[in-house]
Symmetry: C2
Subunit: 449 residues, 2 copies
């Protein structure tokens, strides 16, 4: 049973034609695929061929700072995953959506709909949207403060959880003889009256196959980790070293008990961008090809966004000036800290820094053979730094295919990864218990509609 | 060319397992299909087999008043249409969405995404959401007033139009050699600062195949007709008599010139619920089977909703008391007027009234043979009451199949309906010019991001 205990989880984090910011320019991709739904359906099929737990789309509610060079995503994730759902059967479908710029009823409903469409494979990556460009598209003059965003996220999620449970298990009767469509005693108003939201309910979608989507989160600030410990079932995280990864893992798992949860109820998946080749030299050469395609002007804008500081006119061949303390940052705190650590620890010039960041916007990158990547994955899992990985192919579909066809078989031979899907839902893929509804603080006490 | 001038447009208005409120109880339907995405994909395929212009889903943002007896829709329309898009190639895909309970950026983006996923087949049925149950799910104590809803709808649509045009034709360059992803001179901020919305833009989705979705509307109040005359390209409407239909058609077409539009730029499609049989007697018997399955308690609640008056305790075998004037109604004015006219003109008892309304919530119903329905359709089109019809099958999929297989061929033989799809987009199906962008009041004058 030792092998079973070590079984890992793998999510394919998909973005356009690859995570590398210059992927669309490389001959291994077809740049026209950025707007081709068939390309994304194909990625879903490849992930399913590899028996991966899930595919995942990030999201931002504004075009990037430099649309002349790239734009990270063009489809809205929930509609895109609905299209992918129709050509797959097992792989989970995780969409990012913002608690700052949606309303609980509408978003809870969209995920319930996706969970029905996919027969129980929907997941929600909960984000609070730290960008000023995003705020400007929703009538705000600046980014809401970090603690304000998290307070809204907390109430938002509590409302959504109640809405998903507003149709109890067994509430849909469909008895044609008596004309009883649903049992009104099992369909509840939630009558939520909070600081930010007033929502009566019930949801206008009957209970979905999973009861509610898998809840995913990625924040690494203190507030983010507490939020994850309270609600998340999977966490995607950027950890560049085994030391950082182990510390983050221990920290987050340690917080679960405060919320009455066990360590197994949340899976931690660090991101990894892998340039793979049949030899180290081949992998190194491939990575170099991508690095050489980076447009410095685009990379400097991306770097400015990550730091919340304009560095677009900075000399490429000198290091950044000392960066301030993370406590004063109102944007994405964890990304700021990661870039600061990288720049200061390795004393990188800006050119070196943007090269290291180009593959995955700060996520760890790996360059080598499939065997070496499998070793690396096993090392992280064994060391207690990960329950699995968030696979971020630098180019698509090729980078996902090489992972599925050359790394996954090695992981299987070592007993680290499944050979078949075991259950019917995304929650089952992650080895989590099915949601039964009406538990804990979310019991609906209100009357029927 | 006389036949070509008379060519009609047909939309399949789909709802669960049929428009009749008791459809789910009838042996011709499978009640479990209400939650089966495959059922809805099949309906899309059937409509496409018949070369219909489009399929359409209504929507409400609350469960109905009597969930024990029925709930009209369970999927969110945009996600559902995304799933249907993947199994069809030509049929248009029209989703209802509310301007009262969405934000322009998010909704514009979802439709742009659906238009990409469907390769140019997205349509938006614009509604202002007149229900009190809906208001309660979004923090409001009551229904916003009619003129307030329409003022919001107007500004909402103006913002959405600007967002869809924020990426000009040709803005996406994808030149791998130079690294030019998009032309920043063709991607614009909209800098909208209105009464209700402040939105900077540009949209975070490159220009979609149609430029923007087909715009559809269904309001029949004075404000509704002006709104339609200004923005809509198709109008779904409930007209019970040829006299009413002709008057509505003349009125609405007559308003187009005020907005600089020609009569051909808006297609009017009255709804029709058809019980079809190979003889009149067979059709009558079929309709009776459905009427007998109506639950009076449910029907009385539906009637109360349409009137905005509680009639649930009214005696079934006496007529309604005189109804007030439509001008005091803040809810759905056109539906109120229609029920009032029907009840008063025909001096119906409540039992008779709910029987007449059961098939299509007030839309006209027809009971007879396919030949007679084709005659009826031709009569309305010839009389200048319709550019086509909004087909509302009382039961699904059978009611759509019989229309496609037995009525459509007759319409074709008469030269009234297409034999093949002529263009690639929903706008082409409706014989409308493709949207070129940046026209009229919606030219973007702002700078680049």
């Amino acid at each position: 049973m030792a092998a079973a205990a070590m079984t890992i989880h793998l999510n394919a984090f998909l973005m356009g034609v690859g995570h590398h910011e210059a992927a669309w320019r490389h001959p291994r991709t077809d740049e026209n695929s950025v707007l081709d739904v068939g390309h994304f359906q194909n990625l879903g099929r490849i992930a399913e061929r590899g028996k991966l737990d899930s595919v995942f789309f990030a999201d931002g509610l504004a075009v990037g700072a430099n649309v002349a060079r790239n734009t990270p995503s063009v489809f809205e994730p929930i509609t895109l995953l609905s299209a992918i759902a129709t050509v797959t059967e097992h792989v989970g479908l995780i969409a990012t959506a913002s608690t700052s710029y949606n309303t609980p009823f509408t978003l809870a409903r969209a995920f319930a709909s996706l969970d029905h469409i996919s027969a129980g494979r929907a997941g929600w990556n909960i984000v609070t949207s730290a960008g000023a460009d995003e705020a400007a598209n929703f009538g705000l003059d600046g980014i809401p403060e970090h603690h304000v965003r998290y307070a809204r996220a907390d109430e938002f999620v509590r409302v959504a959880l109640q809405l998903w449970d507003s149709w109890e298990p067994g509430s849909l009767v469909l008895d044609t003889a008596t004309g009883r469509f649903a049992d009104p005693d099992k369909v509840h108003r939630i009558n939520h009256e909070g600081e930010l939201f007033r929502v009566r309910g019930p949801l206008n979608v009957p209970r979905s196959p999973q009861g509610r989507p898998l809840l995913v989160q990625a924040g690494s600030s203190d507030a983010g980790k507490d939020f994850a410990a309270r609600y998340a079932e999977a966490v995607f995280t950027a950890q560049r070293t085994l030391t950082d990864g182990t510390r983050f893992y221990r920290d987050l798992k340690g917080r679960l008990a405060r919320y009455g949860r066990s360590r197994d109820e949340l899976k931690i998946l660090p991101g990894i961008v892998a340039f793979l080749g049949s030899t180290q030299a081949e992998a190194d050469a491939l990575e170099r090809e991508f690095t050489e395609l980076i447009s410095p002007d685009y990379a400097l804008r991306q770097l400015s966004n990550m730091l919340g500081i304009d560095v677009t006119r900075h000399d490429l061949d000198t290091p950044l000036p000392p960066l301030g303390d993370v406590t004063v940052i109102e944007g994405n705190k964890s990304r700021f800290q990661l870039v600061k650590d990288l720049a200061e620890r390795e004393q990188l010039t800006v050119r070196e820094l943007i090269g290291k960041l180009g593959g995955g916007r700060g996520h760890r990158s790996f360059t080598g053979t499939p065997e070496a990547l499998a070793d690396d994955i096993e090392r992280w899992v064994t060391a207690g730094a990960a329950d699995g990985f968030n696979i971020m192919p630098p180019y698509l579909p090729g980078g996902l295919e090489v992972f599925v066809d050359h790394v996954v078989p090695i992981l299987r031979r070592r007993g680290l990864f499944r050979t078949e899907y075991g259950g019917d839902t995304l929650r089952a893929n992650y080895g989590l218990p099915e949601h039964q509804g009406g538990t804990g603080a979310f019991v609906s006490t209100a009357g029927t509609p």
